[in-house]
């Protein structure tokens, strides 16, 4: 979801790998959303609410900024 040349990137795929190849369905079940929503977040097609973003970070035991990064056009 790019607005004003900015976008939100995430490390969910990498973090799932680090956590014993956690599946999207397992992450979705932990967070309380549909697997397709996790897939959309991971693919940058949907920016989650702050609550869901925190829940994802909590599942991985990482601070929010390790999971999601706000990238501006300037880099």
């Amino acid at each position: 979801m790019a607005r004003s040349g900015a976008s939100i990137r995430n490390q969910i795929r990498t973090l799932r790998s680090r956590h014993g190849e956690m599946t999207q369905q397992q992450l979705a079940d932990h967070v309380g959303v549909a697997r397709q929503t996790v897939n959309a977040i991971e693919g940058g097609k949907y920016s989650p609410s702050l609550e869901v973003a925190f829940r994802i970070a909590h599942v991985f035991g990482e601070p929010l900024e390790e999971v999601f990064q706000f990238i501006t056009a300037a880099g």
């Binding site: 959303v33 549909a34 697997r35 929503t37 959309a40 693919g43 949907y46 609410s49």
Partner: protein
């Protein structure tokens, strides 16, 4: 195609609408063009169309529930629904204003009723199509 239960539900509603209500509007259009003007004449055709819409929705949702997980709507589904609704409801609004204008101009009730139905159909189809676009392209 990787679709959630909610997206499947939108597809089912779209098919139901297009087949049922779309079919009715085609038949009603042909009847109106042949000069049928009595509103009660349309009632049996409309009843069949509504039964068709309900039957397609029930059958479609039963099949969808059998072949996939029935996850509850989550925040993405709700956002997609709200955004699609907000960008399609103007069609119904235009139809309502048009119907009021038609009443002021003393247009036959049968035309006013079908103008309202057409705008409802257009609004719902646009909403479903927008939802599918948002599911596929991202939001």
């Amino acid at each position: 195609m990787d679709t959630s239960f909610e997206e499947k539900s939108v597809w089912i509603q779209l098919v139901g609408l297009v087949v049922g209500l779309g079919g009715y509007l085609i038949v009603a259009g042909l009847m109106l063009s042949k000069g049928v003007g009595a509103l009660p004449t349309f009632v049996p055709v409309f009843a069949v169309a509504i039964i068709l819409v309900v039957a397609i929705n029930i059958a479609g949702h039963v099949v969808a529930a059998i072949v996939s997980r029935t996850d509850e709507a989550d925040e993405r589904d709700r956002l997609i629904g709200c955004r699609a609704d907000g960008r399609s409801s103007w069609i119904l609004g235009v139809g309502v204003i048009g119907a009021i204008m038609a009443l002021i101009l003393s247009v036959d009730g049968v035309w006013v009723a079908h103008l309202l139905l057409l705008s409802l159909f257009g609004s719902e189809v646009a909403k479903d199509v927008l939802q599918i676009v948002y599911y596929r392209r991202g939001i």
